[in-house]
């Protein structure tokens, strides 16, 4: 490898293609923004609540909860960036437009970096263009960028770290930059630790030990304060809130070793398999999924010599997601552009393996064409990527208006969307559903524990986006008790409900 790209940018289009892709991704990402309330996917609401706390000088705390405990679950960088934007435009929810613009811009930046770095893979130009256009605007990514998630920023930082380090000769300055980006990525999503480990590992094996140490030290030094913060404040979190608000260490302990190892069944790869053609009988689906894995692994093997840092970062990344007891699909979705590139690289290699290889590639291509391409087309035409957020938003729109107009300002609301309710009504909130992990299973803490928690928290009202599902057993248990009351203020059929809550005397 050399410091120059393997595929020299000979044509004008090739030279400017990463910028053109970035512009296209920016436009698409802005178009993909939904009008859903912040917080309908839960984590997005927490990020914005933490941003508000930082912007208003309350520290990195969950200010929606009574007592405003320190935040130890979500790394602070994304919230800190949003806090800066909040300071510029302090009026919520109008300022969400600025957050949307930022998310779209960083996704565009990520596209630029990934497209530039992808030249190292030495793919045919057209294959690279098509894969990256599809990968960077794939509907899962459009869903992610349409919500206030940290993934776009994380992808930019991770891609930046990889691209900076993925050259033959890594100077100290370059190692420093790579370590810095890896550290910042870890401060955005803890899984960025894959870059802190992967980048120095490659440099070390390549006997660039000084650069390896610099990258490692800088990455660790940046991430360490967050680790210290979580260690110091982790114990101050109410054990009943551990699953949502505890540290990742506490979370892993709740799951136990069995919960971690259960991930070895590769369920983490599920999100990718769902992009293949649907409704196939198992007998056909399993071979196709196996071909997909084979193709991506072949691509990764080929890429190991061309972009070793990329592979050295992706392997621990996928490893962590595999073992992690709770794996939202979005952890894997952001890898789509790279997985696409590796898939194409693998398919090209497989094509050279003779007839069997060709058949496998044709089968996989057909599955992708009738699976992903069809879904992508439908998603773009009908804006399906935003449907879930919009649908989840509607009950909260009613609920937050009802709470804002129908409860006193000092009310404490227990809700299944505590961050959303806090952001849009200003009321203190607590989670309505308390749970813990048992292995990989999520287990409700039960009505008695919940009741005790709500009473300790001074809850005056209970608000749920759906008076059904998980709420039913809880409400039935409340109603069965004669010493507490749950008076409906309004209940929308098949929709949200707001109740006045009275603790046992």
């Amino acid at each position: 490898m050399t410091n120059a790209p393997r595929t020299p940018a000979t044509t004008s289009f090739e030279r400017h293609w990463p910028q053109a892709l970035a512009l296209f991704v920016l436009a698409v990402a802005l178009w993909a923004q939904s009008s859903a309330l912040v917080g309908v996917f839960y984590d997005d609401g927490i990020y914005v609540t933490l941003a508000k706390a930082l912007a208003e000088g309350e520290g990195y705390r969950s200010i929606h909860l009574p007592g405003a405990p320190p935040a130890v679950h979500y790394p602070p960088l994304y919230s800190a960036v949003l806090a800066t934007l909040w300071k510029l435009w302090p009026s919520f929810p109008q300022n969400v437009a600025l957050f949307k613009l930022f998310d779209a811009a960083v996704l565009a930046g990520a596209a630029w970096v990934i497209a530039t770095h992808a030249r190292h893979l030495r793919l045919p130009a057209v294959a690279r263009y098509v894969t990256l256009v599809m990968g960077m605007t794939a509907f899962p990514l459009l869903t992610l960028v349409g919500v206030r998630f940290s993934e776009p920023l994380f992808l930019l930082l991770l891609a930046g770290a990889v691209a900076t380090a993925d050259v033959d000769r890594v100077t100290t300055k370059r190692a420093l930059a790579a370590g810095l980006l890896a550290g910042l990525a870890t401060l955005t999503r803890s899984i960025g630790v894959a870059a802190i480990v992967g980048i120095p590992a490659v440099l070390w094996f390549r006997r660039q030990r000084r650069a390896a140490l610099v990258a490692l030290v800088i990455g660790v030094a940046l991430a360490a304060p967050w680790a210290v913060w979580t260690t110091v404040h982790g114990e101050s979190i109410d054990p009943r809130l551990m699953a949502n608000y505890g540290t990742y260490g506490q979370y892993a302990r709740l799951a136990g070793l069995g919960g971690l190892l259960a991930g070895l069944d590769l369920r983490a790869l599920g999100p990718f398999s769902r992009l293949l053609i649907r409704g196939l009988p198992w007998a056909l689906w399993i071979p196709i999924a196996a071909i997909l894995v084979l193709v991506v692994l072949t691509g990764a093997w080929t890429a190991l010599r061309r972009t070793p840092v990329l592979i050295a970062v992706l392997v621990p990344y996928v490893g962590i997601v595999t073992l992690w007891p709770f794996t939202p699909d979005r952890f894997m979705w952001i890898l789509l552009p790279w997985v696409g590139l590796l898939g194409v690289l693998g398919a090209l290699r497989l094509w050279e393996w003779g007839r069997a290889g060709k058949v496998a590639v044709v089968l996989l291509s057909a599955a992708v064409l009738f699976g992903f391409v069809r879904l992508q087309a439908l998603s773009v035409i009908e804006r399906r990527f935003a449907v879930t957020a919009q649908r989840s938003s509607r009950p909260f729109e009613l609920l937050t208006r009802g709470i804002a107009t129908g409860t006193p300002e000092d009310a404490v609301i227990a809700s299944d969307g505590e961050a959303t309710v806090f952001l849009y009504t200003g009321r203190r909130t607590v989670p309505l559903f308390l749970f813990r992990l048992r292995g990989r299973a999520i287990e409700n803490l039960g009505a008695d524990t919940t009741l005790a928690y709500l009473c300790e928290s001074g809850v005056t009202h209970v608000a749920t986006s759906w008076v059904g599902g998980d709420a039913v057993p809880l409400f039935e248990a409340f109603e069965a008790r004669s010493d507490s009351t749950l008076d409906p203020l309004f209940v929308v059929t098949d929709g949200p409900g707001l109740f006045r809550f009275q603790c046992p005397s």
Binding site: Q19, A22, W89, A97, L398, G402
Partner: protein
């Protein structure tokens, strides 16, 4: 040809701009200055302007037309902080900005013209009377800023094209700075990328270096601005269209606007007859394509063709013509309805066309026997323009002067009558306010706003029959406007016609069932007509539901359940139930069973 240095050319033109408009310092607040600056708290300090950075341009009470100009407001705030709110200071800033824009015009022209020719172009630009509205009226500053932003971006783009390496990055940032300034000063900034491209195309010293990154970056910035603009002011865009276009189809709008292009050409070439308000019937609304439409189309087409034909032989003139066309396009009402039919301030950049033509003519004539003749003609044009500009400046002295002068010059102008009505209403002279809106209505009967204002003024004066007539006229023009519904209900109730009020309000409520303001008028009419309390509660429940007062809606439906008569279907009961059934099903499904039970109403079942 007299010898001038580039610097002298720039200095002369800028100085002429300052001298020509120095009289503007005597002006006070006129036209939109009052609302946008004098009475706008966001413009009363630099800090307030910064805090309002993400707010639409107009203050909250008249927030319409989708304008977002935070940088312009920021300059007002800075002026206010520095001057304590004295109008002369604001005018001084405008004059200096005009001088700056003129200097940029000379610098742009120097790409094709010798300093003398460029100076001539700059002087024509400096004294062109069309600029009076933009320079001598404080709110015209948006035009000056957008011109400066675009001009700076064009010049920086030239440097960018000729540089390499890191210095290119610096010039790219300068281009983005200019475009950003333009975009944040006025929506017209979106044309920056087109003007940079035009300049690139016509640049006689065109570099072979690739400029793709520049265009991609400017496009990215423009897209980002569009997103922000849409989120901040986009909701108000629909309300900003000019009343002349109300109810017109696209072809009717185009048929109306094509003859206006003749007026645009006249203003650029012969700018001695000026008007501050090009509204019906100064510009008649034409529903059909006539001779003037064809002539307008032919003239525009011919001019554009001339621009294209001259691109090799006289690139400077071609550049001027095409810049004028591009800069006029956003407010041409061809692509979308804008808030003006024609405004002289919007031609600020378009004046580049006559300026460059004169600059080129002076340069060209210097090498021919016609030199003296052409120079004399140019001087004559400049003197005439300067005289007219200076003469026009006091037009923008205060609130009443433009209105009084305009009314005298164009008694057929309906919009000026409405503005005069505002003026008299502000001075509590309601009789004259009413008289002016009635004249406006007679001049341009298709404007529902005029009829609405007439109804409101007549109601305030207790002239109920007149109020009823005007409210019905407004309702006939725009029956779904909640203000019109409110005025009509008020007028009909005052005239003792509650049943008619209910009938009309029902029409409106059925057309726009989800507008709580229309429903409020409907409820008022129902109440006056003596509707049963449970029916009124159903209407109020709908309003509460639509405004997000879910608790109140639920409470009202609960109240309905206790008041239901034995025969729900009596009177208009079932109609009301049907209108409210969505809310009933959502909040009180048990009520649906009651209202559809024996003696109840037939309701469509839920379809899933």
């Amino acid at each position: 040809m007299p010898e001038l240095t580039r610097r002298q050319a720039v200095g002369i033109a800028a100085l002429v701009a300052v001298v020509a408009f120095a009289l503007a310092l005597r002006n006070g607040w006129a036209g939109d200055d009052l609302v946008a600056v004098r009475d706008n708290l966001a413009a009363h300090s630099f800090g307030a302007a910064l805090r309002a950075w993400f707010e639409p341009y107009w203050p909250e009470q008249i927030r319409y037309a989708g304008l977002y100009r935070p940088f312009t407001i920021l300059t007002y705030g800075l002026d206010w902080t520095l001057s304590g709110g004295h109008a002369w200071w604001f005018h001084l800033t405008n004059v200096l900005l005009h001088a700056g824009a003129t200097a940029l015009v000379v610098l742009v022209a120097l790409a094709w013209l010798a300093p003398f020719g460029a100076a001539a172009a700059g002087v024509v630009f400096a004294v062109h009377p069309v600029h009076v509205e933009a320079v001598a009226n404080v709110v015209g500053r948006a035009e000056l800023l957008v011109a400066i932003g675009i001009g700076a971006a064009v010049l920086a783009a030239r440097r960018y094209r000729r540089r390499s390496g890191n210095r290119r990055a610096g010039w790219l940032l300068a281009v983005l700075g200019g475009v950003g300034l333009a975009l944040l000063s006025k929506e017209h900034g979106v044309i920056a990328i087109a003007l940079i491209a035009l300049d690139h195309h016509f640049d006689p010293n065109r570099s072979t270096r690739d400029s793709t990154p520049l265009y991609l970056a400017v496009a990215g910035l423009t897209i980002a601005w569009l997103f922000l603009w849409r989120n901040i002011a986009g909701a108000y865009v629909g309300s900003g269209a000019h009343a002349a276009f109300f109810g017109l189809s696209t072809s009717e709008r185009v048929a109306t606007m094509l003859p206006v292009f003749l007026e645009v050409l006249r203003l650029l070439a012969w700018p001695f007859r000026l008007t501050s308000d090009y509204a019906p019937q100064v510009i008649p609304v034409r529903a059909t394509i006539g001779a003037l439409t064809v002539l307008g189309l032919a003239a525009t087409g011919a001019l554009l063709a001339l621009g294209v034909l001259l691109r090799h032989r006289v690139p400077v003139v071609a550049f001027g013509i095409l810049v004028a066309a591009v800069s006029y396009l956003p407010t041409s009402n061809l692509v979308f309805e804008s808030g003006v039919m024609l405004a002289e301030r919007n031609l600020y950049l378009a004046v580049l066309a006559p300026a460059l033509v004169v600059g080129w003519a002076v340069s060209w004539a210097s090498r021919t026997p016609y030199r003296r003749l052409v120079h004399l003609a140019a001087v004559g044009f400049v003197v005439a323009c300067g005289y007219r500009a200076v003469e026009r400046i006091p037009f923008w002295t205060d609130w009443i002067t433009p209105l009084a002068v305009e009314q005298t010059a164009h008694p057929e102008n309906a919009h000026t009558r409405l503005l005069l009505s505002d003026y008299f209403a502000d001075r509590a002279d309601s009789a004259r306010a009413l008289a002016e809106v009635l004249v406006a209505g007679a001049l341009f009967p298709a404007d529902p706003n005029g009829a609405l204002l007439a109804a409101q003024h007549a109601t305030a004066q207790g002239r109920h029959r007149l109020a009823l007539r005007e409210a019905r006229r407004a309702f006939g023009l725009h029956p779904v406007d909640p203000r019109v519904v409110d005025a009509l209900v008020t007028a009909e109730l005052q005239a003792g016609l509650p049943d008619s009020a209910v009938r009309n309000a029902t029409v409106a409520a059925d057309r726009v069932p989800n507008d709580p303001r229309v429903l409020a008028g409907y409820g008022r009419a129902m109440e006056a007509a003596g509707a049963a309390q449970w029916q009124l509660d159903l209407v109020r429940a709908r309003i509460a539901w639509l405004t997000g007062a879910v608790l109140e809606a639920s409470r009202l439906l609960g109240s309905v359940a206790t008041q239901l008569p034995d025969d729900v279907s009596a009177g208009a009961g079932c109609a009301e139930v049907r209108r409210t059934i969505g809310v009933i099903r959502a909040l009180r499904p048990e009520l649906e069973r009651e209202v559809t039970g024996p003696g109840g109403c037939a309701i469509e079942p839920i379809t899933r």
